[in-house]
Amino acid sequence: MLGSGLLQGLAVTAKNFVGSFHDPARYTTVEYPEVKPALPEAYRNFPFLVSENATDPMGTLRCVACQICEKECPPQCIYIEKSKDKKPDAAGKPQIYPAIFAIDTSVCMSCQICVEVCPFDAIKMDQVFEIATTTRFEALLLNREQLAKPNSYYHGIHPTEAAEVDARLAADRKAAEEKAQAAAAAKAAAAAAAAAKAASPAPKAPDESRRSPQGEGGPPTPKPQSERGAVS
C-alpha cells in the first residue's frame, strides 16, 4: 500500500533516535578537545628524526645526511645540507651529520616514503596532530632541533616497531663490531706476518639488505590472465 515504505523509514529513524542514547555502535561521536581519540599504533603524521640520547639530541642523531629521503620525497619537502666535518655518532664512530635538516610540513603529505627508504632508521613517523600555527610559513618549516626526538619517544608511540628497530640495530652493531674485530685481528695477523698490508676495509654502515636486496627484480611472471576461475 502507498506509504508503507515511508512508515518503514520512519521506524528506522525512530530506532536510531532511541539507539543514539544507549548504543555506542550508533552514537560514535567523540567530543574532541575534551576527549582525545585513542590512536592506533600504526597512526602516522609527519616525520621526526630519531636521536639516541634525550640529553644530547643533536649529537646523537642517527641521520648521516645521506640525502636519500630528500631525493625520494614525492612532494620534495625535505631539505638537507651535509656537514663539512664529522662527529662521532652514538656508537662513537665519526659520521657526517646533517648541518641543516628541514621539513616543510605545509608541503609534507605524511606518506612515510622517507621512513621506508631510510637505510639508517633515522627518520620515523610521528603521531602529532595538534600542530596548528598562526603563520603559514616559518612556523610550518621545522628545523633539525624541532624534528629531533629521542628514541624513548619513538618507543612510546610505536612500541612494536621501535623494539624491532632496536633489535635490528643492535644486531647490526654487533655484527659490525665482530667484523671490525675480525678485521683488526686479521690485520694484526697480517701485519705481524708481512707488515706491509694495506688497511682492511672499513666496517660498513648498518646493513641495507633488509629492505632492498641488491640485484634485479624477480623473473617476469605475467599474471595468469587465462585463469578464469569459479564463476557462480
Partner: protein, 386 residues
Amino acid sequence: MNPELLTPGGANVRAVHDAFHGDLLEVSMGPHHPSTHGVFRMIVTLDGERIVKLKPVFGYLHRNHEKLGETVSYLGSMPYTDRLDYLSAMTNNWAYAIAVEKLAGQPVPERAEYVRVILAELTRLLNHTCLAGFLMQDCGCSGTPLMYAFREREKILDLFESLSGSRMMCNYQRFGGCRVDPTPAWVDATRTLVGNYGAFLDEFEALLTGNEIIMARTQGVGVLSAALAINAGVTGPMLRATGVASDLRKSDAYGVYPRFQFRVPLGAHGDVYDRYMVRVLEMRESIRILEQALAGLPGGPIMDPKAKLRGFRPKAGEAYGRIEGPKGEIGFYLVSDGGPNPLRYRVRPPSFINLTVLEDMCLGQTVADAVIILGSVDIVLGEVDR
C-alpha cells in the same frame, strides 16, 4: 547501432527543444553548488525546469597529476594515487601496483593478494555506502542516510588507519606486495565489521529502498541505454545497471578473485534507481567475498622478498593495468624508458569517463533530476580533474 547516439546531445537536443517553445534560461550549476560533489560545474540550459542542454566544465581541481607522476619515481607516485579518488585509496593503490607489476614483471605473494582483495572489497563497501548517502542527500534527505553511511564508513576507515596508519591517504600497496602485514587482531576486527555490515545494510535499505518518494524520484530517471554505455566507455556499476554483464573481477580475473564465489548483479532499466540498487547488491556480494577471503587468508610473506624499493627501474616497455574499482575501471598506463621515473604515467579515471554520458542522461529531465543523475554517476573530483 544508432549513429545519432554518437553525436553528443545531437538528436535529443532537437527533439526536446521542439517539444518546448519557451525562452531558455541558462544556469551555471557549480563550481560552488551544494550538489556538484566538489567543484564540478554544469552549464545547464533550461526551458522551464526541463534541461535542453547541459555542458560539463572540468578542471577546477586540476593539478596535472600525470605530470607529477612523470617527475617522481615509481614509488613516489603511490601516495599521489591516494589523492585521485580519495574515497577509495586502496583500490587506486592496487591499480597502480598492478600496472607497475605488469611493467616490471613483478610477482606478488599469495598473502598480499588476499589482503589486497580484502582491502579492495572494504573500499567497495565504503565507497558504495557513501555514494548511497550522497545520492540520497541529492534527493533531498536532510542528511540522515548520509550520516548513517558515514557512521559505518568511519568504522572501515578505523580499520584502514590501524593497518596503514592513515584513514584515507593509505599509501599501502607496494610493487610486489603490501607495506605492512596485518596482525591477527586486525583480521579479527575486520571479521567483526564484516559480520555486522549485513545488518547495517538491512537497516539502510529499510530506510531507502522501499521508500515511495525515492522510487518515484529515481525510477525512470536518467535512463542510459546499454549500447551507448558500452560505446561511451562507461564502466563499473553504471554499466552493469544498464544490464551489461561486465565485471573485471570476472573477466580479467586479476588477483585471486577466481577463487571466490560471488555474483554480479545487473540492472534492467539503466536508471538512477538501478544504479543505486546495483551498488547495494554489490555490497552484499562484497560481504560474501570478504567472508571467504578472511576465512582463507594464507600465511607467508606480505612482500615479495626480491622486490626492490629503492632504485626501482623497470626495463623499457609499457603496460596498461586495470582493476574493477568501486567507480568503474581504474587503470594505469605506464611507459618506461628504463629510468627511475616513468616516461609516461597515465590514469584512466573511471568517474571522468563515466561523465561522458551525463548530458545524454539529463536531456529532457528537470534540474532536480540532473542533480541526482550526477549523484548516481558517482564522481570524485580529485579523480575527474586530476
